[in-house]
Symmetry: C2
Subunit: 389 residues, 2 copies
């Protein structure tokens, strides 16, 4: 069975997150932090909704220098937000394009911040400001006396290191998806279209206990495939094909992100060798990953195996990344990233290579960093390319 | 069976979209248009991927004043983008936080735009700039001599009016979801948790031919419910409960967005009356919707029925909206919106009301505007509250 993971978080976990954010904010000289995206709002409030798919209404959370976060949200979100630990919930009847919460937000910020204070807004890598750009400019105009600074480091450094409650949720979805991948040869056959195969896999994930399967990409092709971020097509899977499926399924708002490769009927020696090389590169990553090394060193451990195997790079730009509320998070295992790996980080190991005539091979596992090294959250891919007969 | 809808679009449809955009750009004095979000990029290129769920890499499309769009994207997207009608694909090996495509994008814009030109960027209601805010500022600094202006109207006016090919996709997913709602009483029972009920419905949608079910919200509760944007909980559905499910399922990248209400065993008179009132308000919307009236007049037609029935508003702020590539799009059926309704627009009609002790009743249908009025894309909700026994 899949490891038990409680739903939700204790209030003390949210308090801890908030206090840690406030400690970093104090260090950076930020009088408050403004958050506008789904994972950030959920991280500090616990409010989990897919209503974010609608681009119509902005949602804001303000982390003051002291005390609990303040939600500044559309009225439609008030009943759900009131079930969280947040007690200061300020609403307006959105949509209201001429002033879609901007005055309410500006008043809130001026109330919790000193004149001349600095407002942190995540503006760096992997962030965006999820509100109309014109409204963001209007907000700045209303904040006279308050300046803006990049608040990326606050959320980045907090979210990169997971609590045991977060790890338990990721472990559970990794276990569910591992089972779905292990059972896949019993229900995906030659003659299925890619679309049918993807649908069967998605349904199996849901039946095994995934809450949702927002991310599922892959590819199939004779002897291999050339792309790894496709939606499925009506291409019929045939004898001699390779199939890649890569899923970000969810349990209680936390994601796995890993893939598996299969061959149908038989496989070329080139594909088998490429699989073996990617598997051994992953193994090197598993051995290397531990607190105290950097993401760049972790990348180098995997890259060395690929290079020794005669392969150059691929076109993905990195070999894994952080994982948690989003299917990809900070940091990146790549040259130049140089993030110091700490216990509690959840990472993917994702070595890939090009082989044969422009084909790609991509492996991926999910790990949590413990004091003594990597703990696998996924059940390890088989050491030899699985052939479905 | 569900109406036939071809996958993808002809190249001439993309050419038409681009030419229409360029005509509006010329009118607004825009020398080019910069697009950064998934639906905008897909609308002009046909590139459909859920890779956008990863926040790591920005993607850009530039619509020049003349000629085909230019894709400025991470190298990982090149194989898929090269399968679209776009031939000018410029890539960089992302992620590269110190210059994540910004120089490449700036060079591209300076190449296609005159010195002193105006670059359109969607900055208005329902848009956001999907790249780090710091990178957006760095881009502006590299564009010296080029100024920015709001380009929302270009994409808004184009995307609000659907082609027959787009309508066919929405019609198909509306038909699939109508079937799933009609069959729901055969597979959702008292004793199911909300989570189990949602999973069964999602699996049925996939089995009936939905490509994906990114949006599914709802609620259950004795005699009604108080919230309409929840994810499911472990609450067990019991005799006397009401259940709402509201789904945005996808077919070939186009969404439905409608809901259905059910009672289990029996229903209160208050719930039956509220259902009847919302049903009649929807009916008034169906009668009123036609080219030449405004979204505000359409709202008023539904609001009058609710007011005559003794009900005030609800907390949603509008009674329906545009529908297409996203589960909600421009325009909004609400006071102050005043969008002129045209043939080819796909809209939701979504009257809601509060009743009893803080309960909510929300109905929703999807329509396409034809020369002679509204054509239902959903199969109409039954006129009386369905009771599952």
């Amino acid at each position: 069975m899949h490891p038990i993971a409680e739903r939700g978080f204790t209030q003390s976990e949210f308090e801890r997150r908030t206090e840690k954010a406030q400690a970093i904010m104090a260090r950076l000289g930020l009088g408050a932090l403004l958050l506008t995206t789904e994972p950030e709002v959920r991280y500090f409030t616990g409010f989990d909704t897919i209503f974010w798919l609608s681009p119509t209404r902005p949602w804001f959370v303000v982390i003051p220098a002291k005390g609990a976060p303040i939600a500044v949200i559309p009225e439609i979100g008030a009943p759900s937000m009131s079930l969280t630990w947040i007690s200061d919930v300020r609403t307006w009847l959105a949509p209201q394009p001429e002033d879609d919460g901007i005055s309410l937000l500006a008043n809130t910020l001026r109330e919790v911040m000193p004149q001349g204070g600095v407002l942190g807004v995540p503006m760096g890598h992997e962030t965006h400001v999820r509100m109309p750009a014109a409204d963001f400019m209007a907000l700045q105009a209303k904040l006279d006396g308050i300046s803006l600074a990049d608040g990326t480091d606050v959320v980045r450094s907090l979210r990169m290191v997971k609590s045991e409650a977060e790890i338990a949720k990721i472990a559970r979805i990794c276990s569910i998806a591992s089972s779905a991948f292990e059972d896949l040869p019993t229900y995906i056959k030659t003659g299925d279209t890619e679309r049918q195969a993807f649908a069967k896999f998605k349904i199996d994930l849901l039946q095994k206990g995934a809450d949702d399967v927002p991310y599922l990409v892959g590819s199939s092709g004779p002897g291999g495939f050339e792309d790894v971020i496709n939606r499925p097509s009506d291409r019929i899977i045939a004898d001699g094909d390779m199939l890649l499926l890569d899923t970000g399924a969810l349990y209680d708002g936390y994601s796995c992100d890993f893939d598996r490769n299969y061959a149908f009927g038989h496989a070329t020696d080139a594909a088998k060798s490429a699989y073996d090389l990617a598997w051994r590169a992953t193994e090197a990553g598993l051995q290397a990953a531990r607190p105290g090394i950097t993401t760049t060193e972790l990348w180098a451990a995997m890259a060395k195996v690929l290079e020794d195997g005669g392969c150059g790079g691929h076109q993905i730009g990195r070999m894994g990344h952080g994982l948690g509320m989003q299917v990809t998070e900070w940091p990146s295992n790549m040259p130049g990233d140089n993030t110091l790996i700490e216990a509690g980080m959840v990472l993917t190991l994702e070595p890939g290579l090009a082989f044969g005539d422009g084909k790609m091979m991509l492996h991926e596992e999910n790990i949590v960093i413990r004091e003594d090294g990597a703990e696998l959250l996924t059940r390890r891919a088989p050491p030899a390319l699985p052939i479905i007969t």
